[in-house]
């Protein structure tokens, strides 16, 4: 039986921990709101970008010579971009992305392909280094608050690995933001860029006819060649923002659960402590009574 002193000490330690988890929960929920508003803020840019690419793609006479669009006949090496957080204490957030990445790696290796990892976030890097992988590139230190320039750096790095032939296909795995409570692990094809983005439906073609011909400055092919890398940047930027929001959501949930558990633990410990104290008192009374009886 633990003594009253022991129980007191444990209660105090649990209470201190619960203070930390409560604080983290509040911080995460405040940051979550900010991260969500940044996703909102980029939406007009992403939408206009998509319209622009489709429009320019329609007018371009040839799509040849655009390396980012070219499907390779033979896919030898697949790059898996793992997007994790820089910090832990967020429940399954980092683990589930990594688990999916390793599952995909096994699958691809089973098909006889090579796999190289590109890792974003300290947590992912630590895990991969620990498991003895050599990464093709790693990017850390901004997972909490990604800037567009970070997405540009990553996009450049990946596009380069693709064009120089190190990678023949690039897949991104990240936590897509569904709601504050739900994050969905998502696999997204980054490269080659799917030609679907250049396709348009009936309605858009009608709109085109109504607007008349665009003046292109420079030629549409040249504009498209500039647009595609920027499209890749926006894809990555969106994933970074979603992952950052997901992280805050996951941390908020994890910390709320931790606070709740701490509360339950404190209740149990307090009960045990009161029992132990009562037992001590009863014992002392018994001793006194027994002593008094022995005297008479």
């Amino acid at each position: 039986m633990a003594s009253v002193q022991d129980l007191k000490r444990r209660t105090r330690s649990v209470r201190n921990t619960s203070k930390i988890t409560k604080a983290l929960e509040l911080v995460a929920s405040a940051r979550l709101r900010r991260a969500q508003s940044r996703i909102e803020a980029m939406r007009p840019y992403a939408e206009t970008m998509r319209e622009l690419i489709a429009g320019v793609g329609r007018s371009a006479s040839s799509l040849r010579g655009l390396p980012l669009l070219q499907q390779r006949d033979e896919v030898g090496t697949v790059g898996i971009v793992v997007l994790t957080g820089d910090r832990g204490l967020a429940g399954p957030f980092n683990g589930q992305v990594l688990r999916r990445a390793f599952a995909l790696e096994r699958e691809l290796r089973g098909e006889g392909k090579q796999v190289r990892f590109v890792v974003i976030g300290k947590k992912g890097r630590t895990t991969l280094t620990f498991r003895g992988y050599e990464t093709a590139a790693d990017y850390v230190g901004f997972a909490d608050r990604p800037a567009y320039a970070d997405a540009q750096a990553i996009a450049h790095g990946i596009a380069e690995l693709y064009t120089d032939g190190t990678l023949d296909r690039v897949v991104l795995i990240y936590n897509a933001f569904v709601s504050a409570l739900t994050q969905r692990v998502t696999e997204q094809e980054l490269l080659p860029i799917s030609a679907d983005i250049l396709e348009t439906d009936e309605e858009e073609r009608r709109d085109d006819a109504m607007r008349g011909d665009f003046i292109f400055e420079p030629e549409p092919e040249e504009i498209l060649a500039r647009l595609l890398p920027v499209y890749l940047e926006t894809q990555i930027y969106r994933a970074l923002l979603e992952s950052a929001a997901s992280f805050q959501g996951a941390q908020m949930t994890a910390m709320r659960n931790a606070s709740k558990n701490a509360g339950e633990l404190i209740d149990t410990l307090t009960l045990q402590m009161n029992r132990a104290r009562q037992a001590e008192i009863t014992q002392e009374i018994l001793e006194v009574v027994a002593g008094a009886e022995a005297l008479t």
Binding site: A41, P44, T48, G212, F216, E217, V230, E233
Partner: protein
Amino acid sequence: MAETHPKFDVAVVTPEGDAFRGEAEMLVVPGAAGDIGVLARHAPLVATLRAGSTRVYLDREADNVVELATGPGFFKVELDRAIALVDDAVDVKEVDDARAQEQLEAAKAELERIDAGESTADRWQLEQRIKHAENQLTVSGRG
């Protein structure tokens, strides 16, 4: 009598949000091949932009102009709506020196990597980013 200039919708959009959205009489953007001035009812146009200064003329009579230092991007006019998509835009009155300096160093570091043969990133894009950062620094130095 001042003639009234027709207005049209103008938006300067960055991944971090709208830098400007509203109606204006005239818009001047830094096209890759030279500045492009756009008035209401301009023909449909798609162009690439270099880093430079984007000027939104809200009211030409009153000389009411919003000037933005913008990074490289794209420009589209259709249906009396002009949209500039740029990777960064800062109002020249609100330039953040430290931030511009950071952008400058990041872009320069990457350019050095290209020169060293370690990177094949789009050189033009990077040069534009450097120019954008320098632009901001000059503007704030003047102010």
